[in-house]
């Protein structure tokens, strides 16, 4: 069977059309923070429909965790904030209409750094905003009178007493730049109203969250909305929650015609990026390497709107201590508004940032103690049955195995110069729910579930699993695009949960005489103490890198990159391997050159020649990985695990040459600057 993606016959959201539809473009703010004083569309030709803030005043604010965003901004909070929109018979006419919409602004003071924005007295972005939205699955802790929209804490043991016992303490501040998902296909959707029913075809990982948030916006019952999630040409977290859909739907409502909205590439950087973060880590250990205390402070820059930033900050926080036995742990994670474009879900979700910081700090600690970094980690590593700092007991723990295998892959024991290693412990969406219905159609079986396809191979993995469980050939399994009017509720296709959760629901459905299966994972954390169940299922992995640094030019070349991840039972071997390779390559981008560059809040490298994602030539000549499999074990999500440990493995390898790097990406300029302070 030839893959339609390979033959070019696959149809994506961008290809979807309805008869008589109009094409939309967004008119965006030129200023990082400004009140919109006047919108004048009188110069726009009659054939175009213009949506202005007046047209959306009856619509409710939205946001998947904090309802802080309006469909169009009357107060623009970032460069690129949608202020108006146009729809025209052709995409070209829509593009030409954009500059004809005249907007007067009154500029307001702006702030572009999360640490600065969190201080008292910083310009405020949102005076009031209510928690709510389809993904507010934990209690929000906004700090009134500041830009902090969520604060998460872990309080475990007594860190002060812990540090008092320590023979060695390191404390360093780490930074990681914002990144762009750079999915091949841009955001694309088509909205259509049938009376009071809204139909939306869109590339989204979160059809039910989208439905519920649109119901809030338009003040209609969720059942009056139908979301069809079309196959996506990549997403990596970008196509989550409401992005362009509310604007398309509001335009369609005004135009009384279907409206299609496809983002031009440059507007992707104004729509969603990865949280830039500043993470300070303090670690204390006894002379023998036993960790006694860990303290982490994270500032996640969520940009102008919270989006799922509170969740990102919380995961950044709860994963910060990592897979180590530490009796005293303190974490403070802040999700902070700034006047940058919104930051949200991104493959690695919060773990990219805190894993970089912790794993770098551990190597600095090892250096100070005169211990081998692998040895230091092994001495403290969590084992089966250990209790994490959240109070939950860890099961099916394979960190030591991952670490040892990764170290062996780069011949750690034969010399450590130029080599680095790092571990990741990544949580999965908890609580969450997955359900699936199996229908018979002649000889075929039809899978009705909300798991979406973004190129990660979810459809293939679940079809193979269904064929196995039903004892039929995979050719007899059909898996239509998820349609919220036809499939049972599912939380989201995020956090590498789908193969794990949906395959368990599928097993239930196969057993059920009606062909229906549902699975829930329960848990959640107290945001003030960090106690509870962070994740019912942890993704475990290690990365090892071998690098060369040209000390005159600051150029880092990774000569060997390896990851070992715990896979449990593998459902689709090829898919698992490709996900791992993709994660590793993405990790190299973050490690070496990816950075969303801003000047006064404006992204200045919003194109794919200035914003560099890895090319195949950047893949190291030795590029290896292994999946630790276990027959009969749980299925483990693999969509992200091999990503977060890559940057710290590379950073630790660079540091092994005496170049202490704290900031990502490791561009020549960063490396040369770090060499200047070399001891």
């Amino acid at each position: 069977m030839s893959d339609p993606r390979a033959t070019g016959s696959a149809r994506y959201a961008e290809d979807f059309e309805l008869p008589g539809m109009l094409h939309a473009r967004i008119v965006r703010s030129l200023f990082p923070h400004a009140r919109v004083v006047r919108v004048d569309a009188s110069a726009v030709p009659e054939s175009c429909i213009v949506l202005t803030p007046d047209d959306v005043r009856d619509l409710s604010p939205y946001g998947c965790q904090i309802e802080d965003q309006n469909v169009l901004a009357e107060r623009a909070r970032h460069v690129g904030d949608p202020v108006a929109a146009v729809a025209a018979p052709t995409p070209e006419q829509a593009e030409e209409a954009v500059p004809l919409v005249e907007i007067d602004y009154e500029q307001l003071p702006a702030v572009f750094d999360a640490v600065e924005a969190a201080q008292p007295g910083a310009p405020l972005l949102h005076e009031t905003a209510a928690a709510g939205g389809a993904a507010a699955y934990f209690a929000m802790r906004p700090q009134p009178g500041t830009n902090i929209c969520h604060r998460f804490r872990i309080r475990h043991g007594d860190v002060d007493a812990g540090f008092a016992e320590a023979d060695a303490i390191v404390e360093r501040m780490y930074r990681i730049a914002g990144a762009q998902h750079a999915h091949m296909e841009p955001h694309a959707c088509v909205a259509h109203w049938d009376g009071n029913r809204l139909e939306l075809w869109t590339g989204t990982q979160t059809p039910f969250s989208m439905r519920d948030d649109l119901a809030t916006i338009f003040g209609i019952p969720p059942e009056a909305i139908r979301i069809v999630s079309l196959p996506m040409g990549g997403s990596f977290g970008a196509k989550t929650f409401v992005r362009t859909e509310a604007i398309a739907a509001a335009l369609a409502r005004k135009a009384q015609r279907p409206v299609k909205l496809v983002l031009p590439r440059s507007e992707e950087w104004q729509t969603l990026n990865r949280h830039p973060a500043t993470v300070t880590v303090k670690l204390g250990a006894r002379a023998d390497g036993t960790l006694v205390a860990s303290q982490t402070t994270c500032y996640a820059d969520t940009g102008a709107y919270a989006d799922c930033g509170p969740g990102v900050a919380q995961k950044m926080g709860f994963a910060a201590p990592g897979p180590y036995r530490i009796p005293n742990v303190r974490v403070d994670a802040y999700c902070v508004y700034t006047n940058l474009a919104p930051n949200g879900a991104f493959r690695g979700y919060g773990q990219m940032q805190s894993t970089w910081a912790r794993e770098r700090a551990l190597d600095t600690l090892a250096e100070q103690l005169g211990l081998d970094p692998v040895e230091l980690r092994l001495r403290n590593i969590v084992r089966d049955g250990d209790v994490y700092c959240t109070g939950e007991t860890l099961h099916d723990v394979r960190f030591a195995e991952c670490l040892e295998a990764a170290a062996a892959a780069v011949r750690w024991s034969e010399g450590r110069r130029g080599k680095g290693i790092a571990l990741v412990m990544k949580g999965m969406q908890t609580p969450s729910r997955a359900a699936i219905a199996i229908e018979r159609d002649g000889d075929d079986y039809v899978l009705r579930c909300a798991t979406t396809e973004m190129g990660q191979g979810a459809k293939r993995a679940l079809s193979l699993e269904a064929a196995r469980l039903l004892g039929v050939d995979v050719a007899r399994i059909r898996f239509p695009d998820p349609d919220t009017s036809l499939v049972p509720y599912d939380t989201r296709t995020t956090s590498s949960r789908s193969t794990y959760m949906m395959s368990r629901a599928l097993a239930e459905a196969v057993r059920d005489p009606r062909g229906y299966g549902e699975i829930r994972n329960e848990g959640g954390l107290d945001p003030d103490t960090g106690q509870g169940i962070a994740s019912t299922h942890w993704h475990q992995g290690a990365a090892a890198a071998d690098v060369e640094v040209d000390e005159e030019t600051g150029k880092v070349t990774v000569t060997h990159l390896h990851t070992t991840t715990y896979a449990g039972r593998v459902v689709n071997r090829l898919g698992a391997e490709l996900q791992t390779e993709g994660s590793m390559i993405m990790g190299l981008g973050t490690a070496l050159f990816e950075e969303v560059a801003f000047e006064d809040g404006q992204v200045i490298n919003a194109n794919l020649s200035d914003y560099a994602t890895p090319s195949f030539a950047d893949v190291p000549t030795r590029f290896t990985y292994e999946l630790i499999e276990e027959d009969g074990a749980d299925v483990h999500g693999l969509g992200e695990t091999a990503l977060p440990p890559v940057p710290p493995a590379v950073g630790n390898a660079v540091a092994s040459l005496g170049i202490e790097v704290d900031e990502l990406p490791l561009k020549p300029e960063t490396v040369l600057a770090a060499m200047k302070v070399r001891v």
Binding site: E552, I604, A612, S615, E669
Partner: protein, 280 residues
């Protein structure tokens, strides 16, 4: 917009000017038009008007970078500069003439900030982020010329033949001033026809860049030894391709706070390039 396809250089010259702009491979000009940075009433496709191909030491301005990078008769420095430029798709379309005339990659200019080069009265880069910018010739505009190919051709001592004159490559360029933002001396109705590229005894191109391929140079250093004398051409260091008359020129660099890191890189690459062409 109109597209004209003249079949000779004379015909093309007659059509050029007054808002009629030459189009070769289009890899540079099409994005500029699309982004509204360049306005044209008509595009004059010059591919039948300008020579293409390699004849001994003469290179037609319409020759693509892809053709140059694989030709064993082309000096190493130029082959390498072509091979390390852009992406295979771009090199298959992009001509050497068009490469010499590419506009700056300065992101302020590309975002249409009203800076000197757009006829405005300040350089936004100097006041803002400018880590990709210049360390030489940055008095007015601080942009960094991105052409690897031009650096190689400078090192080789290339002569150009246009529809109006013959000139050394260095004379194709001028540093922009506050009252004239032009970076080339080419007239609106002048076409580059051919390049005369001497064969050196030894040559090399070294490029520092963010990724392994498909990146503009942070610093590119071309060196060629001809008749016992070594010439150095640099990319990514000044608003125009830059000639170093001696290593001491590096002491006269005027780096900005954000571009200071380029200087040690330039020094290292120059030293390596000189070593490479000293022998062999």
């Amino acid at each position: 917009m109109e597209l004209r396809q003249p079949s000779s250089a004379e015909e093309a010259v007659g059509l050029l000017g007054n808002g009629h702009v030459a189009l070769a491979g289009g890899t540079e000009i099409v994005p500029l038009l699309r982004d509204g940075l360049l306005r044209a009433d008509a595009l004059i496709d010059i591919r039948r008007a300008v020579p293409r191909g390699i004849h001994g030491t003469t290179i037609g301005a319409g020759t693509t970078l892809a053709e140059l990078e694989v030709d064993p008769g082309i000096p190493v420095v130029l082959r390498e500069a072509c091979r390390l430029a852009a992406s295979p798709q771009l090199r298959a379309m992009g001509s050497i003439g068009g490469n010499l005339l590419q506009a700056t990659r300065c992101w302020y200019w590309r975002l249409d900030f009203p800076c000197y080069l757009h006829g405005g009265d300040r350089c936004h880069a100097k006041d803002g982020r400018h880590d990709e910018h210049a360390i030489f010739g940055n008095d007015v505009c601080a942009s960094a010329h991105p052409s690897d190919v031009a650096a190689a051709l400078l090192a080789l001592g290339t002569m150009l033949r246009t529809t109006a004159r013959e000139l050394p490559l260095a004379e194709l360029y001028r540093l922009p001033t506050t009252d004239d933002p032009q970076t080339t001396t080419l007239a609106d109705d002048e076409l580059i026809l051919e390049l005369e590229v001497p064969i050196p005894e030894a040559s090399v191109y070294l490029k520092a860049m963010d990724r392994q391929r498909w990146s503009f140079p942070i610093v590119g250093v071309a060196a060629a030894r001809t008749a016992g004398e070594v010439r150095l051409g640099l990319a990514g260091v000044a608003p125009v391709p830059w000639t170093l008359t001696s290593v001491d020129d590096l002491d006269r660099a005027t780096p900005l706070p954000g571009t200071a890191y380029k200087l040690p890189i330039a020094r290292a690459l120059v030293a390596r390039a000189l070593r490479a062409v000293a022998t062999g």
